[in-house]
Point group: C2
Chain length 669, copies 2
């Protein structure tokens, strides 16, 4: 295998930026110190942020006019690699430059950029991103904070009307933030124009809260304890009219509201859509953390031995156990798929945000793609980190081996920047909408015909006719079945067919919803919520599989391509194995073929076993990035030392006899 070449492919279009960021992540002064209490951890992270700012390492996304790089793709690529320094450092950087700074960039206009961005970039002005409230997280449109225009003084009055409207979980809010981008209901001339963003100073340069601003500390969290998350409330706090970030909505001195987007719902979603980069970057960062954990667990699993092997005096290497292969290899396959899918997402993101491909359709597709991939990779990272932790046994639980504390920190990635289930539901709704578009312009009869055709095809596959066909062809011929499963066209048909059928089924069940009273329509939708989210997941898996398959086309080295093709097959077959029940009861896979899926997965992991070290080496994480004592060769040294001890003892003739061995021999006689 050409490990180096594969490594370059994994690094992707912004590989140089990733490498530079990895160098940063390798610097000891940017590393986590696990022994610090959370108060000191927070101070250390702030200092580290200053180090990054001094280098200008985090300016890439900002406009060139104010000293930035105007390179959104490179910025995200570099940001994602910081996770291996310390996820707290990554997320605090994300709060400062990715959320606070990005909101000013995306929602503000040039005057705002000139006024604040230089200080944001240099960290002279640390800030919070005050969107989420205690009682409204996912439903941003319903937040309670108000910004009411006072024409007499030409000021905004920012107010927190009740406890549930306190802003919460905000990085930089407990201690370090001097300002916040506050999302609030914009009210002027007696009209609520919906949620807009305002620049609100919150602390003096000495760290004193400004009049009317309250703050609470979120205290210790399940992870990311280097970030000073906290709460903010505003008691009729006044800010100048021009502190409204007014790209998508403005208020004149006389209080008249204007916006380039007439439809308030579309305006709201456009504003939120500019903040998609958080989701994009978490997709990449989670994939990186999962890669690191796999690199650690594979290195250890290749050195660690336990229980006697068939060779006398030798113990079995963990990765020679089928179970250990089964535990780690499908995760490696998924992480490759995620990595390639992420590159697609990042390119789409860069196209839109660099302006090169900025169309409403591309923006919408980008948001759907990010909403589909971010849940998959953030959840998968938690699964992978847990499996790797357990696969390393007690050693895996020690902080010196990195994995458990990475897992603590990554935990919250599943619910921040969009709760994973809510994001998948968005994807599901988009799929339903796209499905409905097929029928647009058709008259009643044509539509009925189209639906009937689909129902018929479902009954056809559900009745088992196709399945019986497979049974007759395959009977007693497992090789033929395996060939069928290995065929990428089969995998694609199975994965895409599942999405299409699930969406068609849900659409069919919901087709009369619009005619029902609101409560009944909501109840009907709710009855299919679980299925809809499953369909969205299936869609995301298909996208990952397609990205992996596309990436195979770019591999020139034949042996590498062969191994990666097995790995893609393992990814596809693992998905089919997970959803096998569905394929069986819809008749898309015959029972005979279904019974072979697991056996073929076993065969694939055994075949990939010899390549497993190469596969994780291609991630390109060396010691200064992994920093896990069990992944430094220490285990191999220990194993060698103990084997040598027993060898010398045996040869000395002074080894004690074994009661157990002698007892066994006596018994045999």
């Amino acid at each position: 295998m050409e490990v180096a070449e594969l490594g370059e492919q994994l690094l992707g279009a912004w590989g140089e930026y990733r490498k530079r960021s990895r160098k940063n992540a390798s610097r000891p002064e940017l590393h986590r110190d696990d022994t610090l209490p959370y108060t000191e951890h927070r101070e250390r992270i702030l200092e580290q942020l200053h180090l990054l700012a001094e280098e200008g390492a985090t300016n890439l996304a900002f406009p060139k006019r104010v000293g930035g790089g105007d390179n959104p793709g490179a910025n995200i690529a570099a940001f994602e690699e910081l996770v291996l320094a310390d996820p707290s450092l990554q997320i605090k950087a994300g709060v400062q430059w990715g959320l606070f700074g990005s909101a000013i960039t995306q929602l503000g206009t040039e005057e705002h950029h000139d006024k604040w961005l230089p200080d944001v970039m240099s960290l002279k002005l640390p800030g919070a991103f005050a969107m989420t409230e205690q009682t409204h997280g996912s439903d941003v449109a319903s937040i309670g904070t108000t910004a009411t225009y006072d024409g007499d003084t030409q000021e905004w009055v920012i107010n927190t009307p009740f406890r549930g409207a306190w802003k919460d979980y905000l990085g930089n809010a407990a201690l370090h933030g001097k300002a916040a981008v506050v999302f609030a209901q914009l009210i002027t001339q007696g009209m609520n124009h919906g949620v807009h963003a305002f620049f609100v100073p919150i602390r003096t340069d000495d760290g004193e809260l400004l009049p009317g601003v309250q703050s609470e500390d979120d205290g210790v969290k399940g992870g990311l304890n280097g970030v000073d998350n906290g709460r903010l409330a505003f008691d009729y706090v006044r800010i100048p009219r021009t502190n409204l970030l007014n790209r998508y909505g403005d208020v004149a001195e006389d209080g008249a509201y204007s916006s380039p987007i007439e439809n308030p719902a579309r305006r709201f979603f456009t504003m939120l859509g500019t903040l998609v980069q958080g989701r994009v970057s978490l997709d990449g960062a989670s994939t990186n953390a999962a890669k690191a954990a796999l690199a650690i667990a594979v290195r250890y699993g290749n050195e660690r031995r336990q229980f006697n092997s068939a060779t006398p005096g030798e113990e079995t290497v963990l990765l020679d156990y089928q179970l250990h292969q089964r535990r780690l290899l499908p995760h490696i396959a998924t992480v490759y798929a995620q990595s390639f899918a992420h590159e697609t997402l990042l390119k789409q993101f860069h196209g839109v945000f660099s302006g090169e491909l900025d169309t409403p359709e591309n923006r919408e597709d980008l948001e759907t793609l990010a909403a589909a991939l971010k849940p998959m990779s953030t959840w998968k990272a938690l699964d992978v980190l847990q499996e790797c932790r357990e696969a390393c046994g007690g050693a895996g639980f020690l902080a010196e081996n990195r994995i458990p504390l990475l897992r603590h920190d990554l935990d919250v990635y599943a619910t921040f920047e969009g709760d994973n289930h809510i994001l998948l539901q968005l994807v599901g709704k988009r799929l339903l909408a796209d499905y409905a578009k097929q029928f647009k312009g058709l008259d009643q009869r044509q539509m009925a015909g189209k639906i009937a055709g689909q129902v018929a095809s479902r009954i056809y596959s559900g009745s088992g006719l196709r399945r019986v066909g497979q049974t007759i062809i395959d009977f007693g011929q497992p090789a033929r079945s395996v060939g069928w499963l290995r065929n990428p066209a089969t995998q694609h048909e199975l994965l895409s067919g599942r999405v299409e059928t699930m969406i068609a089924d849900i659409a069919g069940a919901l087709r009369n919803a619009s005619k029902l009273p609101k409560a009944e329509a909501a109840a009907l939708f709710n009855e299919h919520q679980h299925e809809l989210i499953e369909a969205a997941r299936a869609h995301a898996e298909l996208l990952q599989w397609e990205a992996f398959s596309d990436a195979l086309e770019d591999i020139r080295d034949i042996p590498t391509k062969r191994v990666l093709t097995w790995l893609r097959d393992l990814f596809g077959l693992s998905l089919i194995e997970q959803h096998l029940a569905w394929y069986l009861y819809t008749g898309r896979i015959s029972p005979q073929r279904g019974a072979l899926v697991g056996k073929y997965v076993n065969r694939l992991v055994a075949r990939l076993r010899t390549h497993v070290q190469d596969l994780v080496d291609a991630f390109g994480y060396d010691d200064p990035l992994l920093r896990a004592k069990i992944a430094t060769g220490a285990e191999a040294e220990r194993q060698a030392e103990s084997r040598e001890y027993y060898r010398v003892l045996r040869e000395s003739g002074e080894a004690p006899r074994s009661e157990h061995e002698e007892f066994k021999k006596r018994r045999k006689r």
Copy 2:
């Protein structure tokens, strides 16, 4: 529902002891302080241990002769409840009294009891349990530490011959332990008699390491940071001959070895078997932690609202979403099943260790049962804690809401006291052995007939004949299928049939293994390792289902029994849903019925939704035990306050108009 009565049933045979222990776990001075750095957390835990010792709360398992309670079942029940004070406290108590003290009790004799147990009980003598080594965890028989008898001085010489033989991950080893029960290869008169346990002093009363003893600190861990885990090594450390814990093997002054158990392998497993209580107690403690997390998440999910509901001005309660029901209710069902199964296990444990039912068969069954249940509940606790954390969103990530730090601490339960996969493999091997016993005494022809019969039955079900039968009967009659699924006889047949068939299949595949060369036999076994572990899991699930079903018999209140029967059905159907592919491709469930399983689960969770608060209230955990801010009614207060704010605003006539609403109305025209 009769919540109080159900609560008593869940408390089980040692309910009074559980209640007393819960009172302890409610005392603030025994609670975790999340803000402490790990060094101070360790000191706090030590102080807490002294508080427990002063009360005599932890003496229940020790012999009455030395001041104990001779009540092993009550001891474990009380121990399990400590998890809600602080899992570090629980585990440090477990190290001191459950491992160190228990090893002296179980492996030592009266002289040892009299000499050490009083100080162990009072905590005058804190100790470590030094079994695991860096390179040998699961394979205890292969540890490297040696204890060589020196007849001249009548002493044991304890030695760590190489780095990999350092004892590791031992609670009390880094700081507080003054002695250790050290497991080592017993060598006398040139013969290695296998692993035995020795009492070895390691520190002076002032905490100085004794000559020849080395210690290292394991440092920060993924959790349980109140326990001072560390490493120990011995450089030819000498202890008196009588420090051998000699219940199962002794050495006379002249160095002659003797044992009541002739077979060294059986002797080894007998010694290890006396330590089964760790596994038993982790099964119960994990179940308790999962119950607490569910109680928190359900309370919050019943108060928290998000997104508009069909009722104007109202938002939807989280638990009214199908997805939220789907996320939490099957876990509640599983935790009930675990709770009842644990009670069975605890009774069996008490029977054996109280001496009432102490037979070799009961011991063996107890060990298998513990090996089956401990992996299920420790893993499930991690899944439940994660799901509950995510179901509470950002709030779920705060330490003030308990769940994330409980998850950190419980993580290691999956690999300590026996790695979960290794335990399930033990269970699988036992199932294979039991299966083979059927053929004992049969001649070649009878055996062939028996096997042929089984293969035939497999082909029969695999060929789809039974399935086709179901299809014809059910066609277009989902009610009939649901009735079939709801029938406990069906559930039992499906769950038990799966175990039997899987084991028979593996036994069939391995039947010639004994005739193969060692390496080939090992390779053949390895090819079926994954299946064997799946079979063991299926067996454990069956045991849990049976325990749940048995427990239904004891419920007198009819409405309670009805709800609990639905919950049992949800448990059974969730298992069948998880393994549906297997049921489909073996032809045990028809595709038509298979397609209904998920829909019936949806229907069950909707039906149980109104009872969900009762179901978690029956766990009996009140505020001083849960100590989660979001589970105190605070969320309901916030919700009420914000609704009241909007009501007053509406009625004041001063509410701003909504651009969004007016835009929608204009559009409709």
